[in-house]
Symmetry: C2
Subunit: 342 residues, 2 copies
């Protein structure tokens, strides 16, 4: 058996400090006291610890450039995340270059490939819907580039992640509808192979079951765009027992449902309540205003960039990967009824 | 007097071919016939023509990376432009990296500075509102990087440009309102130091005057955001002679005006017609649908990228800069009345 290679963690454990402190002490960081630096450096010498040479050599070519790979920037959620990322990046003196994968695995790979020729200090990624393999991102990590996933993460790659609590967001939205008196709640959902589709539907079903309402197959449809909502809402309202509420997987789908409901002369929210998910611009400009689950995209972007800054400050091999979960919040507007007694 | 330095144009003129043909012949491009290549190379030798050495050396390090600097990607118009740029770039095998200036001159300069350390093949820019100096972009051009401006261009830099015909777009919108019977048309405009603010107001005034309607100061206000429209629309409707139409400088402002008009129980379009400018997502999701001036952002993006590809194919010093003007189009929806007889 090969002997255990000394890592930063061993040194940190021995001295009772964090790996980040060890890393910074070795880099002569001003935040670390001279005493600690001496302790660290003596032990480094004694244990003959050598940091990953490649990582250090790449790290030393500091460019202040961060690459960001997102499925598409048109989506309001991603543009909020980007604003959050840029706020933190700018404060820390970094520039963010944005690449769009357009939900294509091939483009994502090609972008990762071209990133090998650009000197970047770090990488933020939300993966494309069609990506099932992630070697292209692992290659960049192996070159010593710190990587943080946000919103859509790969389970295969062990690195820092910031994700949204979709399940609880959906659960709370549907529970709110139930508490305002809705009994037949439809769900306009996304494809189930996507985490957001799966988790939001799971939250919807859990809330129904918790309140003793049997989920009805006819009321759960795949419908996750404006165009589909315009096409499918009339049919669901023609059911023998039409819904008295619609929980849509995103705001645009909810806005399409509302447009149809108004054309069919349903009163919103009295006859049919509607809730979306995103809480983007759409939610506040449509009439009536749309109750929606806020994903706090801006906050997610700030956290992802903060995690990346920390990761760039220590050697990634030596600190375990973390996962941050961003809570959601139900923003109540006029498309849902008031809670009893409020 | 110094003798005239031989340029690609001289060679092209002498042979009766285009400068682009000369450039490609010198690079042994497969589209150029062997005969032409021989003619070009013989003359190049005879005239001792030497292309700009710096430009050629930088050009030869082909990275297939294009840098794009935009004020903000959240804006629907810019995200359409970006889609057009990416469509053409992708077909030609280029990747687009996007930087946001957030309308800040300082950030724009810092981005340009960091671009000097990235090997890019070309640059597309829409300048920030606050930029009054452009030396940072001239520096990049002097490094041999071809530059195309789109939407917001600097008059100071002699390079290719793609711009929108804002004047005619506004003129046609206001003329349409007049032809549908509107007589007191208000304009919610942008600051006049911005080209879009200035040109759209100029188009508005020209259309009124052409039809013998005197422009009224009270009906022309600075109001170019959703929030401002919510705040200022009630006041303008309380005038002794309130408007029977509103022409807004963008869709979001128009949507805010419509929200207020509906709250005040005005019938749209019978009592008050509304026209926006952008023709983004907002125009089709609000109720009634918003008549709006389409800027053809997608088309603009495609043209800008095509111009850049052409520019990368020839030496920029040798072909005069061009300006492409994208026509606008009035997309009629339900927020305006029908034309008489239609």
């Amino acid at each position: 058996m090969q002997s255990h290679r000394v890592t930063i963690k061993d040194i940190a454990r021995e001295l009772g400090v964090s790996p980040s402190t060890v890393s910074r002490a070795m880099k002569d960081h001003p935040d670390i006291s001279p005493d600690t630096k001496k302790l660290v450096n003596d032990l480094v010498e004694k244990l003959k610890y050598r940091p990953n040479a490649l990582a250090l050599s790449l790290r030393s070519r500091k460019t202040n450039l961060i690459a960001l790979v997102v499925p598409e920037i048109v989506h309001h959620f991603f543009s909020s995340v980007i604003s959050g990322i840029e706020e933190v990046a700018q404060e820390a003196g970094y520039h963010v270059m944005i690449f769009q994968s357009n939900e294509s695995y091939e483009r994502e790979m090609a972008i990762a490939e071209s990133l090998t020729s650009i000197p970047i200090d770090g990488l933020l990624v939300s993966i494309a819907k069609t990506s099932r393999k992630f070697g292209h991102f692992r290659d960049l990590m192996n070159q010593g580039i710190p990587l943080v996933f946000f919103d859509r993460a790969s389970e295969e790659i062990d690195t820092d992640k910031v994700i949204v609590d979709d399940f609880t967001g959906a659960y709370n939205a549907v529970e709110y509808l139930i508490r305002t008196g809705c009994k037949r709640i439809a769900h306009f959902g996304a494809p189930q192979h996507l985490q957001i589709g799966y988790q939001r539907k799971r939250g919807y079903i859990s809330a129904l079951e918790k309140h003793g309402i049997e989920p009805v197959e006819d009321l759960m449809i795949k419908c996750d765009s404006l165009a589909e909502a315009l096409e499918l809402t009339p049919g669901i309202m023609r059911l023998d027992k039409p819904p008295d509420a619609i929980f849509a997987v995103n705001d645009l789908t909810a806005s399409g449902a509302m447009k149809v409901l108004k054309q069919l002369r349903y009163r919103i929210p009295d006859e049919v309540s509607v809730i979306g998910f995103t809480d983007g611009l759409v939610a506040s400009i449509i009439d009536p205003g749309l109750t929606s689950v806020s994903q706090h995209g801006f906050e997610m972007g700030k956290r992802a960039m903060s995690m990346l800054l920390q990761r760039m400050d220590v050697l990634e091999e030596d600190v375990p990967a973390r996962t941050d979960i961003i809570p959601t919040e139900l923003i109540v507007r006029e498309s849902t009824r008031a809670l009893p007694g409020s």
